[in-house]
């Protein structure tokens, strides 16, 4: 029978079906972070249970770490207990830790792919909803809670109900300065923030095939923002070339075996999906959120929707979003003055993201009164960016150039805005209070964020950069 890629990976990892009807799915790679893992370590110890496969488990310090140069455990006093508990728990359980100061520390969803820990057709779990990011390499990933994390530590499996399958085909050739982030925001606008609930999403189509791995990681990162726990792209030659030689990827004969297997990882031509969505992005312009959830999106040359265009039943949410964001119906989004710009997070902090931003920034300066930050997704990205001189471009323009971590995405390290500030951000959630109580977040691509920092107001990057649109 014809199978989707999702079914192939799920079935290959099905260990058993529990008496309660849940499937036990083996987790090939489990990556922990310090905001949630210490609690699970403690529970495990209380229950006198061991970590079943410390050799397939990795720890990173990312959510609470300071982004200040020269940081240590105490730079951020509130973070100290998390960092130390993570270090102690990882050591006690024999788990490799990418600690502060490690040359490969960074955001888990950036570090695991770039080191080759994420592999096509493999399963991956992180106690973080953006685990889905690594689907960009053709892995099936599950974000989970703390109790599920403890469960995986003890058993190396996760107990799940089989989700439905959804395919989103993105067709067309993206225009200049139109990126995977813009595509992902447009998808969420079309499908809705609950449209992927209960589904695993396969991204397909010519536009996805043409994307770099970093772009696919960005695309999959936002699967959870439409409610899908897992999102992925079938691996192809782009994937294999990107993974070849990465330090934790298989080598030698095992690489050859893996490559032969990975070639089979695609949905069969006549496979059935529970839901199929197609978008043509050939005419897509840079996108931006105007409201307080990631489906409230317009083109950067667009206007805040009028009440008449709001779906029945959503009027109260619409008014609430307008009020929180300090906007009025029908006003142009471009031109809104901003207080902060943040370039970073598991969504958009990889080298090509920073290159795209730097290309806009080069030779320009951040507008007066705007606080602008760049936080690389990993220490590796930071080092590579510095080797290419990007840090100099950002610093010369007046950006803060930070140490890697989650930073302002969720503010778990104290990097936050002030109430009433308008913040243009390359992150994944524009929820009320996400970047600080009362902070008004607009989600955009790195190029749009960079252009906005320079202009001091929301702008169409295509108009700022010579030769485009």
């Amino acid at each position: 029978m014809a199978q989707t890629l999702f079914d192939k990976i799920w079935d290959a990892h099905l260990v058993a079906r529990r008496a309660d009807g849940r499937d036990l799915i083996y987790i090939d790679r489990h990556v922990l972070h310090e905001l949630h893992a210490p609690h699970a370590f403690k529970k495990l110890e209380e229950a006198q249970r061991a970590v079943r496969r410390p050799d397939l488990t990795f720890s990173v310090q990312d959510h609470t770490v300071s982004t200040q140069p020269g940081r240590d455990d105490t730079t951020n006093a509130q973070s100290t207990p998390f960092l130390q508990a993570m270090r102690a728990g990882s050591a006690k359980n024999g788990i490799k830790l990418f600690d502060i100061g490690d040359p490969e520390q960074g955001i888990s969803h950036v570090v695991a792919p770039e080191l080759g820990m994420v592999l096509p057709g493999a399963t991956h779990a992180v106690p973080d909803s953006h685990a889905c990011t690594v689907g960009g390499l053709g892995a099936l990933a599950f974000g989970c809670g703390t109790t599920e994390l403890e469960h995986i530590l003890a058993t190396q499996v996760i107990a799940l109900k089989r989700p439905k399958r959804m395919r989103i085909r993105v067709e067309g050739r993206l225009g200049p300065h139109v990126t995977a982030k813009d595509v992902a925001l447009r998808i969420i606008a079309q499908v809705g923030i609950a449209g992927g609930r209960g589904h695993a999403v396969e991204y397909a189509g010519s536009a996805v095939r043409a994307m770099s791995i970093e772009s696919r990681l960005t695309l999959c990162n936002l699967a959870i923002e439409m409610g899908a726990r897992s999102g992925f792209v079938a691996p192809d030659e782009t994937t294999f070339a990107w993974l070849a030689g990465r330090p934790w990827a298989p080598q030698g004969r095992q690489w050859d075996m893996a490559l032969a297997h990975w070639g089979t990882l695609a949905s069969d031509d006549d496979a059935q999906f529970d839901r199929d969505v197609t978008l043509d992005c050939g005419e897509l312009e840079p996108q931006i959120t105007w409201g307080t959830d990631p489906s409230q999106v317009v083109g950067v040359t667009g206007r805040v929707p009028e009440l008449a265009s709001v779906e029945p039943g959503q009027e109260a949410a619409y008014r609430r979003a307008l009020d929180y964001m300090g906007l009025t119906p029908g006003m142009a989004v471009a031109g809104l003055p901003v207080n902060r710009v943040f370039i970073g997070s598991c969504t958009n902090s990889r080298l090509p993201d920073l290159e795209a931003a730097a290309a806009v920034v080069r030779g320009r300066h951040v507008a007066a009164g705007v606080v602008a930050m760049v936080v690389p997704g990993s220490s590796t990205v930071k080092r590579e960016a510095e080797a290419a001189g990007l840090d100099q471009v950002f610093r010369a323009a007046g950006f803060f150039w930070g140490e890697s971590g989650c930073s302002m995405c969720a503010g778990g390290n104290g990097d936050r805005g002030e109430a009433g500030e308008r913040c243009v951000s390359t992150t994944n959630r524009n929820f009320e209070g996400r970047q600080g109580k009362g902070v008004r977040t607009h989600l955009v691509s790195p190029a749009t964020a960079a252009a906005t920092a320079i202009a001091g107001r929301i702008v169409d990057v295509r108009q700022m950069v010579t030769g485009a649109a």
Binding site: V15, A16, R18, D20, G21, R22, L24, Y26, D28, R29, H36, A47, R52, D55, Q78, S79, P81, F82, A85, M117, L119, A122, P127, S129, G143, C144, G145, E148, E150, H151, A154, T155, Q156, V157, A159, I193, A194, R197, I224, G227, R229, P247, W248, A249, P250, Q251, Q254, D293, Q314, A316, A317, A410, G411, G412, G414, R429, F431, E432, G433, G438
Partner: protein
């Protein structure tokens, strides 16, 4: 895990869709926080830091709620389990929503918090009853019979998959359930070592 059989208590209405976990519990930067104080910590306060008397959970009749009644896609966003622990710390053991986000629903089940989705046809009527009761009379949720009773109308039936019901009623240890399959896990590992060996080893090739 504390078993769930029946629950009788005050139902508090919070009738919005898409309430996310950043709203339920803003990111917590304390290792051992007061979870109850974190529940809707931003929404409960006015800009000057004082309690907002209009926020439902601040109103006197809803100071000790047992049931939260809300809209679609409740608990979307971050996977933080604190957004469930904060409910339990407040005394809320059941959430009646039009629908739940996947990870949040899972986190509820892991902690003995009953996530109820009423049939679409019943939701509006039930929400109206909860608003009309206004905390003056309790509702009763019975997981054995899968029904909700209370002021203002007849008993309402709800569906809960048998597997989830069993876990909640018996308060089963989820890890214990899975460890009954320890042999299956070991067998899977052995098979995979042969067929897809790169999945069963992870090492840094530079070392």
């Amino acid at each position: 895990m504390q078993p769930f059989t029946t629950l009788t208590g005050i139902a508090v209405p919070l009738l919005q869709d898409d309430i996310n976990t950043d709203q339920i519990t803003p990111i917590n930067r304390n290792m051992n926080p007061d979870w109850a104080a974190l529940l809707f910590a931003n929404a409960r306060k006015r800009p000057d830091g004082s309690d907002d008397p209009d926020f439902p959970l601040n109103r006197p009749q809803f100071r000790k709620p047992s049931i939260l009644v809300t809209g679609c896609n409740f608990g979307c966003g971050s996977s933080r389990e604190g957004a469930v622990w904060a409910m339990i710390a407040t005394g809320i053991r059941c959430i009646v929503a039009r629908s739940f986000a996947d990870i949040y629903r899972e986190n509820c089940l892991q902690n003995g918090l009953l996530p109820v989705e009423l049939a679409p046809a019943d939701s509006a009527a039930f929400e109206a009853r909860v608003r009309a009761a206004d905390g003056a009379a309790p509702f009763r949720v019975d997981l054995q019979t899968q029904s909700i009773s209370g002021p203002g109308g007849p008993d309402l039936a709800f569906e809960m998959p048998a597997a989830d019901r069993m876990r909640l009623i018996e308060g089963l240890d989820d890890i214990g359930l899975t460890l009954k399959h320890a042999q299956d896990i070991a067998a899977w590992e052995e098979r995979t070592c042969g067929a897809l060996p790169w999945l069963q080893t992870a090492s840094d090739s530079r070392r």
